[in-house]
């Protein structure tokens, strides 16, 4: 998985958990909470969906890594690539 593909995965999840938001102009370098109406429960949704859809665990200590699309891609891409084949 590339970092761009990883961003697409995260955006697809956000589209489901924030269905009223326009995601067409999300800036990858800007904190998601600064450009979208996302609260702490929504971030828990992102974590839950990564677990449900991909079997990918994000420890609580690493939640800050999910702040922006760029940081998500930095943090999650190697984790995706380390997942056992499904």
């Amino acid at each position: 998985m590339t970092k761009d593909e990883c961003k697409k995965v995260v955006l697809d999840i956000i589209a489901d958990i924030a269905p009223d938001e326009d995601l067409s102009a999300v800036k990858p370098e800007v904190r998601l909470r600064d450009q979208l109406q996302l609260d702490s429960m929504d971030f828990l949704d992102i974590v839950m969906e990564l677990r449900k859809r991909y079997g990918l665990e994000v420890p609580e200590a690493d939640y800050p890594q999910l702040a922006s699309l760029d940081s998500c891609a930095e943090y999650l891409t190697p984790k995706f690539n380390a997942l056992p084949a499904r």
Binding site: I17, P19, M41, M48, R51
Partner: protein, 417 residues
């Protein structure tokens, strides 16, 4: 007892918001009731298959965002729809209302079963690993959820809670709101009852195990109170919330007044978990009539609770006969569940709403699906299958009874200045 010199403020109904299986506002609902149009359909119930049920078809996105629907509950959504409709119907300038002086009192039969069943089903797909259990479970299942969602949605900062009273709950919302208005605790109350019960298989399975779940080849005929062939309850969802105000406040703003709260009673059977007690029901009705300063002969319309169980209908008829059986020539009786099934926590509030227009048109909506009247349910004044124009409707008495033996009777009267 309160001292007889104490004058409590008069409380009136100034707005109605509802969703029923056969209508999403009062005019639609009333038209369906007068035309004999039932709103029961087949639904697929988890683990159980196709069953008749009452489904509401309001547009949730009329007031809510998609995210609210994703995070919240069906009961919350129904409550928000009904609350917004009621406030709009009341004509009150809601933006100017002090939000800390608004109370939300929502009657519920049960809450949390739907959400808990859904979560258990969801984790069953992950080997029952609880790390897949939703972080929304607790806010969705707390008992105050439906009222709390209205508070969040409308920015209401006054008291907002539910009143758990089994199937007596719809009346209880109005009764409690009346009390809070009279005590001066709030200036505007949004109150009534809601039900999301069709989304829990448990309530269907429970009634089935109890031998009290309706079955019929035609879903629209499945709910048949007082009919000889009745065989149980049709479970429905629904909601009906009213705006209540003290009369002085309502008149000061020139509000339309649907009715005045005349009297009420809530009591308990203290006799059985599920079986009704006609003596306590009759006592509840008598006390409500006395509370309203009326006699049984002054009641023009009695809306029964009867849910179409073989025994329960007979027992309520026994109670009604004990109070109204003699010397009440102007008292008519009807039942709404043939149209909408049993809307559980919403039942009392919805069934009252369906009869409120009788103050204007003097027409009593019928009790439908009676092919052969059970002689044990042949109440004098029972309006069967066709709406009936009557001489006068100045008072409506609304019964709602529930498990664990809770009874509620609410009486409203035509508003006369």
């Amino acid at each position: 007892m309160l001292p007889s010199s104490l004058q409590l403020p008069r409380v009136v109904i100034t707005g109605v918001g509802l969703t029923a299986p056969n209508g999403n506002n009062l005019p639609e609902f009333r038209t369906a009731l007068l035309n004999g149009t039932a709103g029961i359909e087949w639904i697929d119930v988890r683990y159980m298959g196709q069953l008749p049920a009452g489904v509401c078809h309001y547009d949730p996105l009329k007031y809510q965002k998609k995210k609210e629907l994703r995070v919240g509950t069906r009961a919350g959504s129904i409550s928000i729809y009904c609350a917004r409709e009621a406030v709009a119907d009341s004509g009150i300038a809601f933006d100017a209302v002090a939000k800390d002086r608004v109370g939300i009192y929502v009657g519920t039969t049960e809450h949390g079963n739907v959400e808990t069943e859904n979560e258990i089903y969801a984790i069953s797909k992950f080997g029952y690993d609880t790390k897949f259990w939703s972080h929304y479970h607790n806010p969705r299942t707390v008992a105050n959820n439906p009222a709390g969602e209205v508070s969040l949605h409308m920015g209401i900062t006054g008291p907002a809670y539910t009143i758990g009273a089994a199937c007596a709950a719809g009346n209880m919302g109005l009764i409690h709101a009346t009390q809070m208005l009279r005590l001066g605790e709030v200036d505007l109350a949004i109150c009534g009852g809601v039900s999301e019960s069709i989304h829990t298989f448990g309530i269907f399975a429970g009634f089935k195990s109890q031998g009290a779940l309706a079955a019929h080849p035609d879903p629209k005929q499945a709910s048949r109170p007082f009919d000889k062939a009745r065989n149980g309850i049709v479970v429905s969802e629904g909601g009906c919330l009213y705006t209540l105000e003290r009369l002085d406040d309502a008149r000061a703003r020139g509000a339309k007044i649907y009715a005045e709260i005349a009297g009420y009673c809530v009591n308990s059977d203290a006799s059985d978990y599920v079986l009704p007690n006609p003596s306590r029901q009759a006592e509840c009705v008598r006390k409500a009539v006395a509370h309203a300063g009326l006699t049984p002969a002054d009641i023009h319309l009695v809306n029964t609770h009867a849910t179409a169980t073989p025994l329960g209908d007979i027992q309520e008829c026994e109670a009604i006969r004990a109070v109204f059986g003699v010397g009440c020539p102007d008292t008519y009786v009807n039942n709404t569940k043939g149209f909408i099934g049993h809307c559980m926590g919403a039942a009392g509030a919805l069934e009252l709403a369906g009869n409120l227009p009788s103050f204007d048109d003097q027409v009593v909506h019928p009790t439908i699906n009676i092919s052969e009247l059970d002689p044990a349910c042949a109440l004098p004044g029972l309006v069967i299958n066709q709406a009936r124009k009557v001489a006068k409707v100045d008072t409506i008495l609304n019964n709602s009874f529930g498990m664990l033996g809770i009874n509620s009777t609410l009486i409203v009267r035509r508003f006369v200045a």
